[in-house]
């Protein structure tokens, strides 16, 4: 699981141009939106695309996304269970 968490952090850093950050700088349990990493709605779309392109996971509803995108760890848990590649 930790390997997947780190992999997700790397994808996130690359997609969101957080070039000054390393995976270690991102708290795996911190909220992604609002007070945590401070991501916005377009960043959520980046996450949707990361899951689709890298793990073959297609999310289809905001309610589903809201639960999955709570933190890097919740995303990793969902990916581990639902990935098709």
């Amino acid at each position: 699981m930790e390997e997947l968490v780190n992999e997700l952090k790397k994808y996130l850093i690359e997609a969101l141009n957080l070039e000054e950050m390393t995976p270690d700088d991102i708290d795996s349990d911190a909220p992604l939106f609002g007070e945590g990493l401070g991501l916005d709605s377009i960043d959520a779309l980046e996450l949707i695309v990361i899951l689709d392109k890298n793990y073959g996971i297609k999310l289809s509803s905001p309610a589903e996304g809201k639960n999955i995108f709570r933190s890097i760890r919740t995303i990793a848990a969902y990916v581990a269970e639902h990935r098709t590649r």
Binding site: S41, L45, E46, D52, S61, P62
Partner: protein, 293 residues
Amino acid sequence: MSGRQWSGNTFGNGWMHRGLVSVLRHVDVSVLYAFSAVFIVPFCLLFWREGRRSSYSFFRKRLGYGRLKSARMTYSNHLKFAEIVIDRFAMYAGRTFGMEVEGLEHFNALAAGKEGFLHLSSHIGNYEMAGYTLVSEDKVINAVVFSGEKESVMKSRGDMFSRTNIRMIGIREDMGHLFEIDNALAEGNIVSFPSDRYMPGSRMLRCRVFGAEASFPQGPFSVATMRGLEALAVNVMKAGRKKYVIYVTPLHYDRTLSRRQQMQHLLEAYAAELEKRVLQYPDQWFNFFDFWK
């Protein structure tokens, strides 16, 4: 109406909009143009300070016109805006306009492919008039629209577009629009974004346009480069009393660069096209706020 940001919805309430559509079923647009020129536009210039100031400042500072010409263009700018609003309601009322497309081959080439692509529009001219003309048999056009728009305008748009393969995606708080945008592109359809109006609080990109740096929304450029999609600038300009020209221009960006550089590349191509069309039709610049603040 704040200094930096325009609310972005159409003036007037529901019964005014419905009334205007009813009037335009029986009265030619020329009558309403004349009424606007004599009554509405002078009233707006007198009492809508922000619109008057931003318009005058655009001609004076950004286009470098003299004082007299800037004042004349400010009137012309407001009148043109009134005319394009009238034309829009005339279209809802079933009136037709002469439409010419420059660069249709670019749209057709992408529409014939399997991949989804983007239309990047601007608040210049009258993009909505492209609704009937620039259509694809195989791909649905999903227009991302501001959800704060008046219900009557949204209903008229809905009624009009129900006869075409154009759908609207309203920006919503629950991020549902993101799923709709992503699904539309993943299914090979078209998504259309107004790309020149940055909303405070959201991520932005900076680019020089008309000689000074301005903020643009990162969203449309991010969505395009996320999946390496093709993007077209689509600007619909009023070229005569009842004639519009749709300009379709491919926007190129280097996909080997980093994501940030790709977005910047794409934005610069978009901004160059925006400048080109505004210089061609200077009185059709409709960002009535301090765009360069």
